[in-house]
């Protein structure tokens, strides 16, 4: 992609309304634009990151056996009256009347609707386990939306909902999502730690928040240092093997880990002082077993092998992709801008032509742009007539993993410079070697 044909509205100044670094950097890097209170447009650079985040989530949901569907944003109030939540839900629910004065709402979550789908079609334990997920916009009318897309009113959510015959099945479904989440966040370059979360009236211990550590985190968290070096399950993990999956969950729930809310001072005391990690954290995912909470009032039953009807045992599993984009920035930036982990970077390479109009610089830049692109790399080619200083600042700000810098002196010597955004390391290489470095076949 040529920057001259791209839409990348960089802001020179720090926007005053942005209180946290991710909000500031997303505005400055031209990733988002605020459209109203807690409402944002995703501009081209931001949209690319959001897509990459969603794609990783999708791949890992599919790997764990979940099936993708897509439910509408607008729901009928009657559905929520069935579960009893229409009246219970507070002012965060955006209530709407249509032209025929029917009560509707903008879905803040989808347990009712997915239970309705389940109830309509699934009648036998033979069709279980079932896990349906979707990635859809939601709306929660927060009193005080803030922190950009970290806490907006309209936000994107991946919600998965599992249905099983009994608690044993539901626990296995829960475990699969647990392991899927470990893989999901790791692939995005995040170190997420599962922490026990409140189960409220449901009880039991099947509720975990996945927390990443970041200095700017919203809450205090406590965990054993072991978490920082635990091996994350690989791509060959067998999600059909309940025992293998349960073992992974056990490994990842044994050392101490808790948010402020669930913190247990007595247990914390037992962690050796040198193993204590007390830090700020950001919640990036939440999984929750709720049993028959929706299936019972809504009559979602299946026939078991015993010939009797059983209310489905369920759970829900959320990740907010729009929020995640901000969380990744909170965890990965420096004073010059964003530092994207490779897997979610909007482009792999920022190709900087330092002297547009210089025949040699243009030729080498065009050649590298074509070669990298043909090798499957996403390239943002800065072919604008901005001065080099501005180009470098933009490249650092938008945080692509690699910069390839084509300048007149280097080109005269048959060389280009490569900069690693994360380490800041620079290297001068012959052009052919630079191509090889990024996978161009000789």
């Amino acid at each position: 992609m040529r920057l001259s044909r791209y839409f990348l509205p960089i802001l020179k100044e720090n926007p005053r309304e942005a209180e946290i670094v991710s909000h500031r950097l997303m505005l400055r890097a031209g990733m988002i634009r605020q459209q109203g209170q807690g409402s944002f447009s995703w501009l081209p650079l931001g949209k690319r990151v959001l897509d990459k985040v969603c794609q990783i989530i999708r791949e890992e949901q599919n790997r764990a056996g979940a099936l993708e569907i897509l439910m509408p944003t607008i729901q009928s109030a009657d559905l929520w009256r069935e579960s009893g939540r229409y009246n219970d839900y507070g002012k965060e629910m955006l209530r709407i009347k249509d032209r025929q004065d029917r009560d509707m709402l903008y879905g803040p979550t989808n347990e009712e609707m997915v239970t309705e789908i389940f109830r309509a079609y699934v009648k036998s334990y033979k069709d279980l386990p079932l896990n349906l997920y979707h990635i859809q916009w939601k709306f929660r009318d927060e009193v005080r939306p803030r922190f950009g897309v970290m806490r907006s009113r309209e936000f994107l959510m991946k919600d998965a909902y599992s249905f099983d015959l009994d608690f044993e099945g539901a626990r296995s479904a829960y475990n699969r999502m647990f392991v899927s989440y470990l893989r999901t966040f790791t692939r995005m370059g995040l170190q997420a730690i599962p922490m026990r979360a409140d189960t409220g009236p449901i009880g039991g211990d099947l509720s975990h928040e996945f927390i990443i550590l970041a200095d700017t985190g919203e809450s205090q968290v406590f965990c054993h240092r072991d978490y920082l070096s635990l091996a994350v399950p690989g791509a060959n993990t067998d999600f059909a093997n309940d025992g293998e999956i349960a073992d992974i969950v056990k490994t990842w729930t044994t050392p101490y880990a808790a948010t402020d809310e669930m913190h247990d001072e007595a247990a914390w005391e037992k962690v050796p002082e040198s193993d204590k990690v007390s830090a700020r954290g950001i919640e990036v995912g939440h999984i929750f077993h709720f049993g028959e909470k929706y299936s019972k009032p809504m009559g979602a039953k299946v026939t078991g092998p015993d010939g009797k009807d059983h209310f489905a045992s369920g759970g829900s599993y959320g990740i907010g992709p729009s929020r995640l984009v901000a969380a990744i920035i909170e965890a990965s930036h420096d004073e010059n801008g964003i530092i994207w982990p490779d897997a979610v970077a909007p482009f792999d390479i920022g190709l900087i032509n330092m002297k547009v109009g210089d025949a040699d610089c243009d030729r080498v830049s065009e050649e590298l742009n074509a070669a990298f692109t043909a090798a499957g790399k996403d390239v943002l080619y800065d072919d604008t007539d901005q001065r080099p200083g501005g180009k470098f600042a933009t490249a650092d700000l938008i945080g692509l993993p690699w910069q390839v810098i084509v300048g007149p002196r280097g080109v005269a010597a048959g060389e280009v410079e490569i900069k690693n955004r994360r380490t800041g390391e620079r290297e001068t290489l012959p052009i052919a070697d630079a191509k090889k470095r990024f996978g161009v076949a000789a």
Copy 2:
């Protein structure tokens, strides 16, 4: 994908509420579920088709130089007051009040919001041309939603919006979208004919609807037979070449073509009788030049090369992906079910194991499933214990382009049967040849 682990709720009976064939088949094939008046969930099979349709649209928008963004579904009423449309828009607009009693709305379209984005960042003709598109859910509160996803209240739209310095630029932008649409629909296996549409108070001739011919079409259309054999521009079309693009548009607008609304009897008379095609049509896209309609009231100006301010000249370009899925079915089905064009088929191959539990059938089926999948094919492997008759009916109903049938007699002879869903042709092949047929390396 194993059917035993998939969620494909086939309906045996024709749903009474479905008036048109696409609605009937989408319900029967388990693609969608109605959730309210004019509101549908997309179940796994439907979601796959919707994704493929969106991906083709996206690729062709990108090829034509448009840039993808994503605007929120909820908009502030104030934005629409700027253009004057808040009061003009009728009851189709879903009006909402938030908890602080602010007027909001569920976007029925996005001209205002995208103009606001443009106005905020673009100041010079040097940043033009610019075309921003998004694929997002919209809501129009129709009095009588019907025909399933063909005319629902909540529906998915691709909307592109172009911005140029002057009419000449805007016309080139319009032409690029025109050609992009020709390619888009052709890639989906549709023959879409551009037909002059009403330009209302804007005037001029830059408004076209893209219409596909289908017996069940909603409106009467008239066109010259030449359209049925015009060459569609290839993937190497140079969208940067305004002249080349304008020539294609000329070719595709010269023979007579009009919807009932714009029909000109006098011009129609001049078409030779044997070249007249009078048929039913379905609108699948609409492109429209509107000049300064939004830029003027909203003050979206850029500085021209003359140093003066100019209101941007704009156009909008819509395709409804959710509606398109239904339109494709209207154009491509038979009495047994859907017949997917290859490019939008939810799976490439339906692999049917006629005798699950038979060691040889299982072995060959597993082997083919693995081989086809490794060769990059999307396979739906029917490994259920349904009887063969039911499996064949399901395969025909969901309309995958190819069926590969593994039965005990064939397997004993080292053979499988291949069926082309569109032609109905069957062929018995040695297993190795069947693999080769679907791209498996020997």
